[in-house]
């Protein structure tokens, strides 16, 4: 960020504070989100333009810009892209961006340190690294006041001297930024505060976890080795906006995203909200990187199908609640379950063929009926159903739902009861298994 000449770092929307790579994209965004007529969906060019259109064409007045944050809804202000933004708001924005970038950089350093020095051993590394970074930051952030404080005696004559003091600060900062990279790989530890939130949420959260930690809002902080180098190069340009984006993401993600969970989901509210709008073209490196850090949470969930979190009160996801694929869900239906060959069934089916042939004419007839069924159950029923004596009670228990038959009708029972029908009763006792 050595180029202080630019009047703004990146195009941003005055109405909703979102950042964009390009003024063209910003304008498209404004036209689609802020200057679009809610009645006929026509896209106008400016706020006043929209107001005039609604009045002339629909005879309706509008008093605020749609989808704008409070305080920025003035319909009469003529803003187009970055043009027309009041100077005061520009300065506010710049200040806020710088504050954010200092804060989040500082915060990351702090976290990096706090994670690294659990023992006291790393204390020296920590503070000594932090100080050089902290000082220029502290001096830079509130420029006038600090500069006033620093060389105390010259307080009166400060302002010009303060400015004179600034350039050295400025030159100090760019070197600081390249100095930041060693902190960046600390991003995963930097993600700790979020991870810390997770454990309480974990049981209910599984599907939300990976997305949460992925945080495409933090793209440049990719620890993934191949990506860090290019990541670093772009960082000076990006960190302010991205880290700035990371802060407002917490509150603004509520409006930007429809991911605010409905009343039904309990613990998932705040973590869901943090997930930024990935439609911004900035989500690559961290997504790749965080998958390695995210490895743990998803692994704990493999036992039970996780449930999806609902979108919001006004959105309905047309999908069953469990987070398994539609095909898996369908495969669980009884009418498909019975078609799936069970392990060992094909062998047992072969084993049952000879005995059934030996038993008598009734059995083969029964077996032929379901030609496609490789499963054991039909042949078994055929066998038990054939000889009428002593069977009915067992049959009654064994017949109805195929899914529950397995314990009752172990496949290997068909082996022994070949020719000697007398053997049947012992074979059939429920507890016995072969």
């Amino acid at each position: 960020m050595g180029r202080k000449k630019k009047k703004q770092l990146k195009p941003w929307c005055w109405y909703c504070n979102r950042d964009f790579d390009d003024e063209k994209i910003l304008i498209q965004h404004q036209k689609a989100k802020h200057f679009k007529c809610h009645i006929c969906h026509k896209k106008l060019y400016t706020g006043p333009g929209l107001a005039i259109h609604c009045m002339q064409v629909h005879k309706e007045t509008i008093d605020s810009v749609p989808n704008a944050i409070p305080g920025r809804t003035d319909i009469e202000l003529e803003i187009y892209g970055m043009e027309g933004i009041p100077e005061k708001d520009m300065q506010d924005r710049r200040r806020v961006l710088e504050q954010k970038s200092q804060e989040s950089q500082k915060k990351k350093q702090n976290q990096d340190d706090s994670d690294e020095d659990d023992d006291d051993d790393d204390d020296e590394a920590g503070p000594s690294f932090q100080q050089p970074a902290a000082q220029p930051q502290a001096a830079y952030m509130p420029p006038m006041t600090q500069a006033g404080m620093h060389p105390g005696p010259h307080a009166q004559g400060m302002p010009p001297a303060g400015y004179a003091g600034m350039p050295p600060m400025l030159t100090g900062i760019p070197p600081m930024i390249p100095g930041m990279p060693p902190v960046m790989p600390g991003m995963p530890p930097g993600m700790m505060p979020m991870r810390g939130m997770m454990p309480p949420m974990m049981p209910g959260m599984p599907p939300g976890m990976p997305p949460l930690v992925a945080r495409p809002g933090m793209p440049p902080m990719a620890p993934a080795a191949p990506v860090t180098a290019p990541g670093m190069a772009s960082r000076p340009a990006v960190p302010a906006t991205q880290s700035a984006a990371s802060k407002p993401l917490f509150p603004s993600a509520v409006q930007a995203q429809q991911t605010v969970s409905g009343p039904s989901s309990t613990t998932s509210d705040s973590p869901k909200v943090t997930f930024p709008a990935y439609t911004q073209p900035s989500s690559a490196p961290s997504v790749a990187a965080s998958s390695s850090t995210v490895a743990k949470p998803p692994a704990t969930v493999t036992s039970k199908p996780a449930t999806l979190t609902t979108l919001s009160a006004t959105s309905k996801l047309m999908h069953p609640d469990e987070d398994i694929s539609l095909e898996e869900r369908r495969a669980q239906l009884p009418r498909y379950q019975r078609l799936i060959p069970r392990p060992g069934q094909t062998a047992a089916a072969a084993a049952s063929a000879p005995p059934s042939g030996a038993v008598g004419g009734m059995i083969p007839a029964q077996q032929v009926i379901p030609p496609q069924q490789p499963g054991m159950r039909h042949p078994i029923h055929g066998q038990y159903g054939g000889p009428p004596q002593g069977m009915p009670g067992y049959m009654g228990g064994g017949m109805p739902p195929y899914g529950q038959n397995a314990p009752m009708v172990p496949p290997y029972q068909t082996g022994p009861p070949g020719p000697p029908m007398g053997i049947r009763p012992p074979v059939m006792s429920p507890g016995s298994r072969y």
């Binding site: 790579d21 599907p207 990976p210 997305p211 992925a214 495409p216 191949p226 990506v227 290019p230 990541g231 190069a233 772009s234 429809q258 991911t259 997930f275 990935y278 439609t279 073209p281 900035s282 989500s283 690559a284 490196p285 997504v287 790749a288 965080s290 998958s291 390695s292 995210v294 998803p298 999806l308 979108l311 006004t314 959105s315 309905k316 996801l317 047309m318 999908h319 069953p320 987070d323 398994i324 694929s325 539609l326 095909e327 898996e328 869900r329 369908r330 495969a331 239906l333 498909y336 078609l339 799936i340 060959p341 496609q372 490789p374």
Partner: protein
């Protein structure tokens, strides 16, 4: 007789340039795939445990073979050989000239995806047993088993690379010539379960869809400048009575010539998108029920649309399953020049 003429004769026309296949499967369609060499033949796999071969030029079913359980995917190795797999975990190949089956091998759990990689000449299968297996189509035999972090839901071939989408929203890129290690490990940039991944014909990237009415366009080159170009957009959503209904996007198919792609959702709509200008080119009429699968023919002249209820709302009654063959025009599939 052209497919259209045959269809007109039999009353199967469902639009000016679209007709429904006769003798369709008796349960939901899981996949449709055109032959690599001609727009005449279409493979259709179904939950009725069959794989059928259709001649779309005469709207007739030419061949049918069975699996033990519902078939989840099918693919052509070459114009004369179909490969398929499903809930019975068996990988079968069927010689379309001799009408003979061969069981090539098995997975330890249902096979979800079957694809062919022409550049490496290998068949690829993905399964809920969390593995991807390669198969030499000539012998045919197993050529390796490669563990994935989760159940495989979808996969696609881009040149000599394989992109695998698993449960847990993981995406892995493998080099089919060197399967010793994963080339790239990614996480889907969409927050919800991955439904389908298809690679661009130009092999630069892939399109990924989720169950939450969203599609992401991603690039394979991991460099930051290229990664910045990736984006996602919402689609297949309907507003009804103030509630927005968000549908899974089940199917994606690329037009081989224009690099534009079609998506099909559980809302019953098919949209065609231009990924370079980020615009929708076209939307067809609404189909009777969810779109389960889409396939462009290799010359880009036809689009096969499988309309099958996928149990999104549970086991309820639904419109009949059908496969539609639609003639597509440049106006519908070609990027606008402005």
């Amino acid at each position: 007789m052209s497919g259209r003429a045959a269809a007109e004769k039999s009353g199967a026309m469902t639009g000016a340039n679209e007709f429904k296949l006769t003798q369709g499967p008796e349960d939901s369609v899981s996949a449709v795939k055109f032959s690599p060499s001609s727009a005449q033949f279409l493979l259709v796999s179904s939950w009725d445990c069959t794989v059928r071969l259709y001649d779309v030029s005469t709207n007739s079913m030419r061949m049918k073979y069975q699996h033990l359980a519902p078939v989840l995917d099918c693919a052509f190795y070459d114009p004369a050989h179909a490969w398929s797999g499903g809930l019975d975990s068996q990988l079968k190949t069927h010689d379309l000239n001799t009408d003979q089956d061969t069981i090539v091998g098995t997975h330890d759990a249902p096979i979800r995806c079957v694809e062919y990689c022409p550049e490496v000449n290998v068949m690829v299968t993905g399964s809920w047993d969390m593995s991807v297996r390669l198969w030499d189509p000539r012998t045919p035999c197993n050529a390796g088993t490669f563990t994935q972090p989760e159940k495989v839901y979808t996969l696609s071939v881009a040149g000599d690379r394989l992109i695998v989408g698993t449960a847990g929203r993981r995406v892995l890129v493998w080099d089919l010539r060197n399967m010793g290690y994963v080339q790239q490990r990614r996480e889907s940039s969409l927050k919800y379960q991955t439904r389908c991944i298809r690679a661009f014909p130009n092999k630069q990237g892939y399109v990924l869809s989720s169950i939450e009415g969203r599609v992401a366009v991603e690039y394979l080159d991991p460099s930051l400048e290229v990664q910045k170009k990736k984006y996602a957009f919402k689609c297949h959503r309907l507003k009804e009575n103030g509630i927005e209904q968000v549908y899974p996007v089940n199917a994606i198919s690329f037009h081989s010539v224009h690099n534009t792609f079609a998506t099909g959702g559980s809302d019953g709509f098919v949209n065609i998108w231009d990924p370079f200008h980020k615009k929708r080119l076209c939307q067809f009429h609404r189909y009777p029920t969810s779109i389960a699968s889409l396939a462009f023919s290799s010359d880009g002249s036809l689009l096969a649309i499988a309309s099958s209820y996928m149990q999104e709302q549970g086991d309820v009654s639904h419109p009949a399953d059908a496969v539609f063959i639609r003639q597509v025009t440049d106006a519908e599939t070609k990027p606008k020049s402005t």
